[in-house]
Amino acid sequence: MSKFVKFSKLRSTTDSTFWAKFVELKIDKFKLDEKSISIWGSYGLQSLNEDNSNPLTLDFTSFNEDLETVDNSLSVLCCGRMINTNTFEAFRQINPEKFIDSMGKDVINSIQDGTALQSPWKLSLFLVLAYSDLKKYKFYYWVAHPTPLKLPEMYYEESPKSINEEFAAKHVEDLCQGFLQLDSRTKNYFTVLLSGDKMTIVDLAAGVKAINTNSEKQSQSYNEIYFAFYDPCATSNPGWPLRNLLCLLCWHCPTYYFSKVIKFISIRGNKTQKSLVFALKSKQYENYKCERDSLFLSNLVGWESNLNDKLGPTIVNLSDMMDPTKLSDRAVNLNLKLMKWRLVPDLDLEKIYNLKCLLLGAGTLGCAVARILLGWGVNNITFVDNSNVSHSNTVRQSLYSHQDAVKHKHKAYAAKDAVLNIRPSINAEGVILHIPMPGHVVGESMLDSTKKSLEKLEELVENSDVVFLLLDSREARWLPTVLCAAKNKIAINAALGFDSYTVQRHGTRNFTNPISPDLETRNPRGMDLGCYFCNDVTQPGNSQTDRTLDQQCTVSRPGLSQIAAGLAVELLITLLQHPLGIEAEALVRRDNISPSDTDLVGLLGCVPHTIRGSLWNYDTHLTITHRFTSCTACSVPIIAEYKNRGLRFVLDTCNVPNYLEKLSGLEQILKRPDLDELCYALDNTSDDDEDDKKI
C-alpha cells in the first residue's frame, strides 16, 4: 500500500437544551465573563444508524460540574473548553488558527507530562468558540478537535479487518463486555492485551509500560497488544481520535513507534460490533527524533466543517423554539394552516395576517370582534374608545378583568393590553378619541378638541384596511361612515338591540355616479349597496335628547354581541377571500345558489349585504339596502362637501339643524307628493316584513 493513512473528521451536534441552559447561565452566572468554561460532550451508544457518523453531542448536561451527573454507561464522555465572546465583533476578530493553537495546547501538555496516560480523555479534548445573540436567540458556534498537524506519515501494513476476522468469537465478546464496563471517560482510549487465551483490557499507561518493558527485556509478557480508541466515524479510514493516540505513542515509546507495526482497534457501533482493526507502520525516517520534535512543535488543526461543508461557524437561529412569543405565534399559525391544509387549500392567510383593522368602539362588540380577529390570525388591531372600564362592563366585555375596572382603565388601553396578553406578537394600539356626532353641538370651548379628534380619526381610517363600526349610538357611526366612503375603506357595521342585531358591509362609493342604482338587480354588486344610513329618511341626530331610538340604553341579551361579532368578522373574512372582494354580489335568497357562479360564490361562500337576526324567534334574514343618492352619510353631495370643507363641514353637521337633510337633498324628497311610492321602492328589496325599526 502506498498511500499514507488519512483520518476522518469528527462532527458535533448541539441540542436546543444546550443553548437554553447556556442562555440561563450566561444571564445568571457567567454574565460578561469571557474566560473559557469547562464543558462535557458525549458520543451516545444508542444510535441505530451505524452506517453514518455518530456526532459529539452537546446538551444541557454539558454544563454540569460534577462528573457523576454526566457519567453513564451508554456514552463516551469527552471534555471540552468553551469560549463565548460578548460581542459579535470580538467573535469575528478571533483568528481560528491562533485560537486552536493556544486553546489546544492542553492536549500537547497532557501527552508530554504523561497525564494523558492515566486520564486518556485528555486526548479527546474539544473546543467550542461561540457568540450568542441573546435577544434574537441566534447562536454562532464552531467546534474544533485539536491535534498536531505534522504527524509522521503512517502506512497500512495490511487492509483493515473487522474484529470478527481478527479475533476468536470469545475475544470479540470479551472486547464488547470489557468496553461496556469501562467508565464513560475511559472508553475514549484504552489498551487490549492478548496473552495466551486471555484478553485483558488495561489503560494506556499500562499499555505503554508493557511496550517499554518488553523492549528492555526482549521478552514479551503478552502475545499481542492493541491500542483501542472509540471511533465515531463510519468510513473506511480511521477516525480523528487516532491522531492524538499516535502522538501519545510517538512521545512515550518512540523506538517502538518508528520501527514496529502497531495494531489499533477502532471501536465502532454501540456494542463494538462494527469495530475495525488497523495494522499501521510509520514511514522510515532518517532522523525520527527530529520528526518527533517537530510533531510537538507544530501547529494544531481540527476545526469542523459546518453543514454547508465550509470551514466556518454554524449559525443557528433558535428564536422559533426559545422565544415564548414566537412559540405562541407558531401555535396560532399552525391552527390556521391546518384549516387551510385540510379544508380550504386556497385560503389566503397572508392577506388576513396583514390586514389592518380599526375597531371603533371597545365595548361588548369591540371585545368580541377583537377576539375573533385574533382567532383568524389578524396581526394589526387598533381600538378606538373614549370610555373607561367600569365594574358593570367586565362580565360582558370579554377583554376586561376586574383589575381593569378597579384601575378604571381606559377601554382602548385595557383592550390593547388584553390582546397583547393573549398574543404577545400582535401589533395592537389603543386610541382615546371622542367621535364628533351630528346634532351634538360643538361650542367654542370644544372647537380645538373636535378638530384634533377629526384629524386623528381621518389618520386612523386612512391607515386601515377595514373599519369596524361597533359604537353604541347611531350618530357616532355617521362620521366614520362618511370617512370610509370618502377614503374607500371596507366598513363593517354591527349594531345590537335588546334581542336583535344587524350586521352589514357598506357598499363602495363611486362619486361620479349620482344616478340611482337599478333596484331590480337580483344580487347587486358592492358599488350599488348602501350604507347604514342609506334607508333612513331622517338625518342622524342627538339621540340623547329626542330618545326616539333605543341607542341610549343599550342593554342586550349577553349572547347577542357574540353572535353579531362572529357574523361581522366572518362576513369580512368571506369577502376578503372572494375573488371580487368588496365588490362581491350580495346574497339575498339562499335557494338556487350555483357554486359555479363566481360573482356570487367565493372561496368561503357567499357574502350578504345585511344580516338581521333576532333571538326572539331565532330568525335570520339577509336583506339588501341599495345605495341611496340622497343618503345623509354616503351620497355624492355629502362626500363632496366633506372633501371641500373638512372641519367646517363637520362642525356644521353638529351645530346647524337639519343641515344634512338639506345638503343631501333628503329635505326635497320629503316634500315630494310621491313619497309613499319612494318609500316602497326603498323598502321592497328587503324581505323583512317587520317594521324597519332601526336597531
Binding site: 483520518f7 476522518s8 441540542d15 441505530l48 469575528r92 468510513t235 454547508n308 470551514l311 461557524p313 449559525i315
Partner: protein, 204 residues
C-alpha cells in the same frame, strides 16, 4: 370498535409495555409516555437524531442551508492544508420523532411522526409532500399520509390514516405482539423508521 383487525386498549398497553421493556434492554430509546390508566392517553414515543447521507430519495436531499444567513459568507475561512484529513461523504442531521398512539374510535394503533432536517426539532421540518413521496416510494404504497393534530399533545404531526391498519392487523393475527408486527410493517412509510431485529422475538 372491536372485532377482527382491531386491538383493545388493554392489549395495546400490554404490547406497548413489552415493546418498551425490549427497548430498555437494547437501549434504542423508546419510552412509554402519558397516563396508562386512561384508555388512549398513553403512547410509545421516541425522538432520535441521526446523520444521513444522500441516496437519491427526497428526504436525503441536502437541506437548504437554513442555518446560514447573509453573515455566513463572512465566515468562509481558508485554513492550513492538512494532508492527513480524509475526504468525507457529506452528511447532515435529521431529527425524527415517532409516537405510537391507540385510537379509541378505530380500535387500532396510529403512528404520528415529525422530522426535521436540522440539529433541532422544530427547525427545517420535513414537509408533508416530502413525507408523502417517501411513503409512496416504499413498499406499502401508503397513500393516506397527512397532517393531523396529535390528540394528546395538541400540536401538528404527520400521521398515517388508521383505515389501512385494520387490514394489517388482520394479517398479524397470529402474532404474540400485534403492536410490534403492525409497527414493523408501517414503519418504512413513516420517514423510514427502522425497528431493531430484536423486537421480532416479541411476536413469536
Amino acid at each position: 370498535m372491536d372485532g377482527p383487525g382491531t386491538i383493545t386498549w388493554d392489549e395495546f398497553l400490554e404490547n406497548a409495555e413489552r415493546f418498551v421493556e425490549m427497548s430498555c434492554q437494547i437501549s434504542d430509546g423508546w419510552e412509554l409516555r402519558g397516563d396508562k390508566k386512561v384508555p388512549g392517553e398513553a403512547y410509545v414515543a421516541r425522538k432520535q437524531k441521526q446523520y444521513i447521507r444522500s441516496s437519491g430519495n427526497s428526504i436525503n436531499d441536502r437541506p437548504t442551508p437554513r442555518y446560514s444567513d447573509d453573515s455566513a459568507d463572512d465566515f468562509d475561512f481558508v485554513l492550513k492544508q492538512d494532508p492527513f484529513e480524509a475526504s468525507c461523504p457529506i452528511e447532515w442531521p435529521l431529527v425524527t420523532e415517532h409516537h405510537v398512539l391507540w385510537s379509541m374510535s378505530y380500535g387500532v394503533p396510529i403512528l404520528y411522526f415529525n422530522g426535521w432536517k436540522s440539529d433541532f426539532a422544530g427547525i427545517n421540518p420535513i414537509s408533508m409532500e416530502e413525507a408523502q413521496s417517501l411513503a409512496r416510494n416504499g413498499e406499502l404504497k401508503y397513500k393516506d399520509l397527512s397532517q393531523a393534530i396529535h390528540p394528546i399533545l395538541g400540536t401538528p404531526f404527520l400521521h398515517l390514516h388508521p383505515c389501512m391498519s385494520h387490514e394489517l392487523l388482520q394479517m398479524t393475527s397470529n402474532s404474540k405482539n400485534k403492536l410490534v408486527s403492525w409497527l414493523s410493517t408501517v414503519a418504512p412509510a413513516a420517514l423510514n423508521l427502522k425497528l431493531r431485529c430484536e423486537y421480532c422475538q416479541l411476536t413469536i
